[in-house]
Every structure is written in structure tokens, then in C-alpha cells.
């Protein structure tokens, strides 16, 4: 494919969409899929055909539309007088499909009683860059992505930009790593570009291990070509010819969509040799993870791609200098790569106008837990947590009280009510003892016990500790045991002291991020909810009524007793 052919294909697709009487996008993301959206799509297709509208209606499955709790979702779009009209149907079932086809598609009469208001704060407060194609494209069709200006950034880069120009645009945009750490992406790229090596690699970290996070999954499933384009741009910028996507084995749909996307792109020379008739070559291979949280750490991930146990190694040397097979390697998160095509297409300056002074652009969050609108959102940096939880998220269900918001997964912390007006950016979240993390945002209400939550995360870290360094392997197990004691009402104040000491030890002496950040949930809950810990210890009661006092084995409804891990101490 040449650049001209790419432009022609894009125009053809756009024209087809504009000419269609209606475009019907059925959400095919994990949430709606589990609620039966696949059969809804088939029923739709049948109903449309029976009504004789098959030629005029464009029906397709699409990426996550965001409102997962109201699934299955169907978005209907129509192009009229230079703008797009949109309608969103929620909780769609078989009976509704027939009516929608008859009245809306056939008779131009939208069914107001089934519609979700699109001027709801849930939609109004969002700003979409990474998720801009949700609802617009069928992730299994390359043509759809091209029609949405896909691969135009790659064409722009290989035809009129030097690799250093691409690095410069990304640096200027102010984009920072979306995996959680927030390292400036431009700086990373220029380091790898400058590193010497006979070969270089681009790696996409799609090992989304944080429990309670599904942003990367939604991006991979909803817009796989976007990741490939972002990786190709990175490869062009740093001079790599081989890329790997390390994706979780738990995401079979993401794996199959990526496989399809890679095959499609290779077929038309958007990947492979002489991309878009230029001298640039780049291939991408998939590597399937096998369920180890620690593999999200970059050196462990490299070990896993090389076919070893995923254990981290000390840094430096950083992967930017010595990574995969000791060659300079660029590792970025899915969401980071997903931002790149838009940055190259629209320029770094455009991107740097969004967000706050130090955190640019947008962030995708997965809203979950005790919140009305569970789902996927993308908001500009700097928006307050209160807006996210109460405006976009619709607040807490069942008239309960908000207690804390958990960000950053097992490496993050809990943010209590007094800090709700905090702007969401990398620095502010760290200041209050949490972190941006990859974007899981779990809301807890008064019925959640903070000791139990800390215990849950510590158990997670204990199970997932790779066992290479002692502070993490033994420390997480010891902290977990103390938390078990606290939540069963058998701990003393001395235990609390000991636990705080251990947390400090882990933070400063562990080998990798897993151990260094494992105490965060404990430290942050102790900081804001110390009285709850004290109630467990002194009064032997659980204020939230979650923990069962007295029996250490049955504490907090836990099904698993203390693991055999003690044996390896």
C-alpha cells in the first residue's frame, strides 16, 4: 500500500459511513459481550435484513462504549448536514431490537423511553483521545481504522519526518508513561534512540495485572491497530525493526483481535518490509503472558519474553540501554502507545494544551466498585476526583456514604473524603500517598473495611511476589500475618508498630517495584483510617462489620488460610 492508496481508502470508508442511512454500533467489549451483546448483534442483523434495510444500514460490533453497567449498549449514528447525530440505547434486549428496527431505523422515530441521555455528565465531562474510535470502528476491520484517519500518522512520519522529528513531537507533547510511573515518554524515546546496539526492540506492555483495571484490555480489544501504529511510530523514531506485544493470557479476545490486526496490517504492508513504500521495516510478534503479576515490571517482562521465569533484575542498566537480549529496548504501556498516533497526527503542541502543567493529555480510568456508573471513561488530567466519582460516576449506589477511592491497584493507596477535590495528576496523587497507576479506580463505601482491603492487597502481593529478593518474599508474608491478626482481633499495639517498621523496610530494600510499593495500601489506610485499625486492636470490633472477630482462620470472610509460603522463609 502506498500513501496515496491509504488516503483513497480512508476517503472511501468515510463516504460509505456518511452515505449510510444509519450506522449501528453494538458494543462488543468484554462487559457487554458477557451480557449477551453478540447475540443482540445477530438478532439486529436478522431484523434489519427482514425489514429490507440491509443495504442502507451499517451494522458492526465496536469497542467499549463506556457505560458497562447499562449493557448491552447500542449506539446509532446518522450523518446529516455536516454533523453526526447520535443515540444510545441501553439494556438492549431482543424485544427492544425489533422495535428499534421498526421505529427508529425504519421510521426515523427514536424510542425515547429506551434512550440514554447523551447530555448526561457521564458523557459531557469526558475528553476522548485514546478511546476516540469507540463506537466509530469495527476493531476487526482494518478499513474502518483507516477510515478514522488510522495510519495517517505513520504515513506522515515515514514520508515527511525524520526519526528525531518524531521524538521531538512526543517530547513536546509532554506525554508521560501511562503504566503508572509517569516517566516522560519523550525522554525515554530519545534515550533509546541514542543508545548503541546492533538491533533495537519496541515492547508493548499489555500485561495489565492490576486487579480492578481493564483499560488496556478495552483499548486492545476496541482499537488494536492503534497500538500497532503507535508501536510502528516508536520503532521508526528509535530505529527498531522488531516489536513484541506482551499480552495477558487472561485476555483471549484481545489476543485474537491483535492476531487479526497484525495479519491484516502485514497483508497491505503497514507492517513488515518497506512500510508504505519507504525504507522502514517493522514486524510485531505477540507474546502471551501466563499469569504472573510481576511480569508487568519491565525487567521481569523482558525475562519472560526471553522464555525464562519472570523475575526482575537490578537496574541499572535500564532496558533503554540493555534490555531484550541485552539490546536497547523501549518498553511502553498500551495506553502510552495509543496516544502516539494522535500526537504525531495533530502535533505535540496540540496535546500539550490538554491537562495540567506537568501532566498532559487525558487518562483512561476503569470505574469499578461501589459506584453507580461502573465502566470505562477518559478524562483530561487535572479533573477532580469528586467530578469523576460523583458527576461522571453518578455517586454511590443505595444511598450509602463514600469512604475511599482506591487508585494504583496493589501499588497504590486509598484516597479519603477530605482529598476528593484533588486534581488528578501524577504529582498530586503521590502527595496524598497513592499513585496514578494504570487507571483502575475502585470506589468503596461505608460497608468496606479498610483493614480488610489492606489485607486483600497484601495477600495479592504475597502470592505474586516472585521470591527472588528476601524483603519482598518474607516481608509481604509477615505483614499479611499481622494484618490477619488485626482483622481477627488478636493483634496488639506492638504488632501495629512492627508492621509499620516492616512497611518501611520493604519500601527501601526490595529489588523491584512490586516489593517497594507493596506496603502502599497499608501505609495509606493507616494514614487516613488509623482509628479503624485501633478499633480492631483495642475494641476488637470491625466498624464496617466485615471482619469476623475471634477466629484467625475465618477472618474477614477469607476463604484461604495463610499460605504455605511461610515454609520458604
Amino acid at each position: 500500500m502506498t500513501g496515496e492508496e491509504l488516503l483513497a481508502a480512508a476517503e472511501k470508508e468515510q463516504a460509505a459511513r456518511r452515505q449510510a442511512k444509519y450506522c449501528v454500533a453494538v458494543c462488543a467489549a468484554a462487559g457487554c459481550h458477557s451480557l449477551g451483546s453478540t447475540s443482540i448483534r445477530e438478532i439486529f442483523q436478522k431484523a434489519v435484513n427482514e425489514a429490507g434495510l440491509g443495504e442502507q444500514i451499517l451494522l458492526y460490533g465496536t469497542g467499549c462504549l463506556g457505560l458497562c453497567h447499562a449493557g448491552p449498549l447500542v449506539e446509532i449514528q446518522r450523518y446529516r448536514e455536516d454533523s453526526w447525530e447520535r443515540w444510545l440505547y441501553h439494556h438492549v434486549n431482543e424485544g427492544m431490537v425489533a422495535e428499534i428496527v421498526r421505529h427508529h431505523l425504519g421510521g426515523d422515530q427514536p424510542l425515547a423511553q429506551f434512550l440514554y441521555p447523551l447530555d448526561d455528565p457521564f458523557f459531557r465531562s469526558q475528553y476522548k483521545i485514546v478511546l476516540e474510535n469507540a463506537g466509530r470502528i469495527n476493531p476487526e476491520r482494518l478499513e474502518d481504522y483507516i477510515g478514522a484517519d488510522g495510519y495517517s500518522a505513520l504515513w506522515k512520519a515515514v514520508s515527511e519526518m525524520t526519526p528525531m522529528d518524531v521524538v521531538r513531537e512526543v517530547t513536546q507533547s509532554g506525554l508521560r508513561g501511562r503504566g503508572g510511573g509517569g516517566y516522560p515518554t519523550g525522554l525515554k524515546w530519545s534515550t533509546v534512540a541514542k543508545s548503541k546496539g546492533s538491533r533495537k526492540f519496541v515492547v508493548c506492555n499489555a500485561d495489565e495485572g492490576d486487579p480492578g483495571a481493564f483499560m488496556d484490555r478495552s483499548i486492545l480489544e476496541g482499537d488494536p491497530h492503534r497500538i500497532l501504529e503507535g508501536m510502528a511510530l516508536a520503532a521508526y523514531a528509535i530505529g527498531a525493526e522488531q516489536g513484541y506485544i506482551y499480552v495477558r493470557g487472561e485476555y483471549p479476545m484481545a489476543i485474537s483481535r491483535l492476531k487479526t490486526a497484525i495479519r491484516q496490517a502485514e497483508k497491505v504492508q503497514l507492517l513488515g518490509n518497506r512500510i508504505l513504500e519507504s525504507a522502514f521495516n517493522f514486524r510485531v510478534d505477540l507474546r502471551i503472558g501466563a499469569g504472573a503479576f510481576v511480569c508487568g515490571e519491565e525487567t521481569a517482562l523482558i525475562g519472560s519474553i526471553e522464555g525464562n521465569r519472570g523475575t526482575p533484575r537490578p537496574r541499572p542498566p535500564f532496558p533503554a540501554e540493555k534490555g531484550l537480549w541485552d539490546m536497547p529496548t523501549l518498553i511502553n504501556n498500551v495506553e502510552t502507545f495509543a496516544n502516539v498516533p494522535a500526537i504525531v497526527r495533530n502535533g505535540g503542541q496540540w496535546f500539550s494544551r490538554i491537562g495540567t502543567e506537568k501532566s498532559k493529555g487525558t487518562k483512561v480510568f476503569a470505574l469499578a466498585g461501589k459506584i453507580v456508573h461502573t465502566g470505562l471513561i477518559e478524562v483530561p488530567m487535572g479533573i477532580s476526583l469528586r467530578q469523576v466519582i460523583f458527576d461522571i460516576g453518578g455517586g454511590i449506589p443505595d444511598g450509602k456514604q463514600f469512604k475511599a477511592a482506591q487508585t494504583g491497584g496493589p501499588s497504590g493507596g486509598c484516597i479519603p473524603l477530605p482529598h476528593l477535590d484533588l486534581p488528578i495528576d501524577y504529582e498530586s496523587l503521590i502527595k496524598v500517598g497513592s499513585m496514578m497507576g494504570s487507571g483502575g479506580l475502585i470506589v468503596m463505601d461505608e460497608t468496606s473495611c479498610m483493614v480488610d482491603v489492606a489485607r486483600f492487597f497484601m495477600q495479592f502481593c504475597m502470592d505474586e511476589s516472585c521470591g527472588k529478593c528476601v524483603p519482598c518474599r518474607a516481608g509481604t508474608a509477615q505483614i499479611y500475618r499481622i494484618l490477619e491478626k488485626i482483622s481477627s482481633g488478636t493483634a496488639s499495639l506492638h504488632d501495629l508498630e512492627l508492621m509499620e517498621e516492616l512497611c518501611d523496610l520493604l519500601k527501601h530494600t526490595s529489588l523491584c517495584g512490586l516489593g517497594q510499593t507493596a506496603p502502599n495500601p497499608v501505609v495509606s489506610t493507616l494514614r487516613y483510617f488509623r482509628e479503624e485499625y485501633l478499633a480492631h486492636i483495642e475494641q476488637k470490633t470491625c466498624p464496617a462489620g466485615v471482619c469476623r472477630m475471634g477466629a484467625p482462620d475465618a477472618a474477614c470472610g477469607s476463604a484461604e488460610p495463610v499460605q504455605e509460603k511461610e515454609n520458604c522463609l
Binding site: A30, G212, R217, I442
Partner: protein, 168 residues
């Protein structure tokens, strides 16, 4: 020199070995493809038996200890046979906050096994997952590979009892 085989060569008529061999060949016998090959092996055989690990290790020219190390390091690989039906309870944060522990303990109590075990009749395996990425519809349970959301303990029991009824 490769050491003498510690087990019998695979049965000739077993087609699954042919598919496995093809996968190994596709990865050009590269030792670093061991994860991919083990994924294929587990898909074919259901679990990774010791002999199977030795077979893979020899084909990729890595020490059996490394194959064993990799297979036991990652949660995804199982060294024990799985039941006919599997029920995976997601224990991710979102599901946990919404009561996944209650679902799990109900299932464990009903079937008399712990998470990670299989019923003695080989009918049902109950396992937990770190997060299946279906947090928007928490709590989620995967019944035989299909994710279902907003599951209650009663519903989970009903589903697993149904499997039991079908085999009777």
C-alpha cells in the same frame, strides 16, 4: 550430548503430539519460545504432565529444570488435571469489594473442595483468578470459559449444580 530419555517416547497415534511438534517447529525450536509452546501444550492436553514437560524441554533443547521452573512459576500453567467443568471466581479488587469472597465460600462449601482443587469425581474444578478484566460487571465468574457478570452466590451454586444434574 542429550541425556537418555527418562520416559517413553510419545505414542505414535496421538495426534496431539503432532500438533505440538508443529507449534515447536513454527517457533524454530527457539528456547525462548517455551512459554508459547507450553501454552499450546496445555491447550492440547489440559494440563502439563511431567513427561510432557520433559518432551517440550528436549525439543527446545533446554534443561528439564528450566521447563519445570517456568511451568511452576506462572499461575496459568497447571500440573494437575482439571475437572470436566471449570468455574473461575474472579478475585480482583472490584469483584472482591462486591462480594466475590461470598461466592467462593458458597461454592467451596457446596462442593467440599477448596479453590484450586477438583472434585474427586473429576467433574468440577474451582479456581480463582487475579482479575479477568470484567470489573464493570463485577462480581464476575467464568463458567467453562464464558464470563458472566453480576453473579450472586445463589446463581453460581445453581450453575454448578446444573452441571452435576447433567451428568446424572
Amino acid at each position: 550430548m542429550p541425556e537418555k530419555p527418562t520416559s517413553l517416547p510419545p505414542p505414535r497415534g496421538d495426534k496431539r503430539y503432532k500438533i505440538l511438534d508443529a507449534a515447536i517447529k513454527r517457533h524454530q525450536f527457539q528456547p525462548n519460545a517455551i512459554l508459547e509452546v507450553l501454552h499450546t501444550a496445555q491447550e492440547l492436553f489440559g494440563f502439563l504432565e511431567e513427561d510432557l514437560l520433559i518432551y517440550v524441554a528436549r525439543a527446545l533443547r533446554v534443561p528439564p529444570s528450566r521447563a519445570y521452573g517456568v511451568a511452576t512459576f506462572y499461575n496459568f500453567f497447571s500440573m494437575k488435571p482439571q475437572g470436566k467443568h471449570t468455574c473461575v471466581v474472579c478475585m480482583g479488587t472490584a469483584c472482591y469489594v462486591k462480594g466475590a469472597a461470598d461466592i467462593l465460600s458458597a461454592l467451596e462449601k457446596e462442593h467440599g473442595i477448596k479453590a484450586g482443587e477438583t472434585t474427586p469425581d473429576g467433574l468440577l474444578s474451582i479456581t480463582t483468578a487475579r482479575c479477568v478484566g470484567a470489573c464493570g460487571i463485577a462480581p464476575a465468574v467464568v463458567f467453562d470459559g464464558a464470563v458472566e457478570g453480576q453473579v450472586s452466590p445463589q446463581y453460581a451454586l445453581q450453575r454448578t449444580q446444573q452441571w452435576r444434574m447433567e451428568t446424572l
